[in-house]
């Protein structure tokens, strides 16, 4: 694996995370429990799609085979996607969506903070821009997790159920493979495992305030970020996200 091949894989991982989560969050548009949350979620989704354009745009450039961000987003099949399993999980209720968002935002802000000092200037530039958006996403999702966790009996029960359901998808963020090793050796991206202490501290702080109990298990579903085995949910998401480009290839408006 050359440096550029590894970098391409890494950039797809970054871009696919934001693309798939952005699409998931956009599914709430017009359906959120209150107007204010509806707009806030749509803003988050748009931020994530905007970041996707940067990550996948750079991925196409590094690959050098003429694929741009749209080509990568709309003309790949499920096994070519490199997103974490966490972000392809269905929205469930509002509580589960916000818990998924919080679990992702916490990791995302820590990672982007490290990427701002990447030895690859194009990566550092994207991280710099994305980190401001991610910081706001985290502020918002953490606040909501606390309000709902430390809320009514019903909201507390739903948030605990959401955390229990999503917890097995957290571990995948911190498992390294050959791509990560190559990125770490080049100083482009940190070793994923090195983010864990900061992540655990942040989660501990917020979830304690939310009166939620972190499950006592380190079991982790894997196979998303290396594309080995996505969940069945990704295919359903892609049929919806990609249908227009599939039915009318390269259509524009």
């Amino acid at each position: 694996m050359t440096r550029d091949q590894a970098l391409f894989e890494f950039l797809c991982r970054m871009g696919d995370n934001t693309l798939i989560l952005g699409h998931r969050v956009s599914e709430w548009c017009g359906h959120a429990p209150v107007l204010e949350e509806d707009i806030a979620l749509a803003n988050t989704a748009l931020d994530l799609i905007g970041q996707t354009q940067l990550w996948l745009g750079l991925a196409g450039e590094v690959e050098g085979e003429g694929r741009d961000a749209d080509k990568l987003a709309f003309h790949r099949d499920a096994w070519d996607f490199r997103n974490l399993l966490l972000v392809e999980m269905p929205n469930g209720d509002f509580g589960r969506t916000l818990m998924r968002q919080f679990l992702f935002d916490a990791w995302h802000t820590i990672l982007l903070g490290r990427l701002m000092t990447s030895s690859e200037p194009r990566v550092a530039e994207i991280a710099e821009k994305a980190s401001k958006e991610a910081a706001y996403h985290l502020e918002r999702s953490a606040d909501t997790v606390v309000s709902l966790g430390d809320g009514t009996e019903e909201s507390h029960a739903r948030m605990q159920a959401a955390l229990d359901y999503l917890w097995p998808y957290v571990g995948e963020m911190f498992v390294a493979d050959a791509v990560d090793q190559a990125m770490a050796e080049e100083g482009i991206a940190p070793d994923p495992a090195s983010l864990r202490p900061e992540y655990d501290a942040l989660l501990g702080r917020v979830l304690k305030e939310a009166t939620l109990i972190i499950p006592d298990s380190h079991f982790a579903h894997k196979g998303g970020r290396d594309g080995r085995m996505h969940s069945e949910h990704l295919g359903h998401l892609l049929t919806q996200m990609q249908w227009l480009q599939r039915a009318y290839p390269d259509a524009r408006w």
Binding site: V34, L35, E36, I39, A40, N43, E139, R140, D143, S147
Partner: protein
């Protein structure tokens, strides 16, 4: 309805040096969330540099039925308008 979040009035300062202007209202459980919601609902197109929120119930308003005594007396007092002076160019916008 008892389960509804309270209503907040939102004021946004568009630029440094300008005053906050009322832009609309929204619902939120507390002041902190009201500011976040205001950020998401009213500053998406780069409209603001500062946000104020106040719970609508704290606003005291004049009564529409008093509009006669409140506003009509000022209608005939043209001398209250500073239109009888020539303003030097140097003064700029007033």
């Amino acid at each position: 309805m008892k389960n509804e979040w309270p209503l907040w009035e939102v004021f946004i300062r568009g630029q440094h040096g300008m005053s906050h202007r009322h832009v609309g209202s929204l619902h939120a459980p507390d002041a902190e969330m009201a500011i976040k919601n205001a950020r998401d609902v009213y500053t998406r197109r780069n409209e603001g540099v500062s946000i104020w929120v106040v719970e609508a119930r704290h606003i005291a308003a004049s009564s529409p039925s008093d509009k006669g005594p409140l506003y009509e007396p000022s209608e005939s007092k043209v001398y209250r308008h500073p239109t009888f002076f020539d303003i030097p160019e140097d003064v700029g916008a007033m």
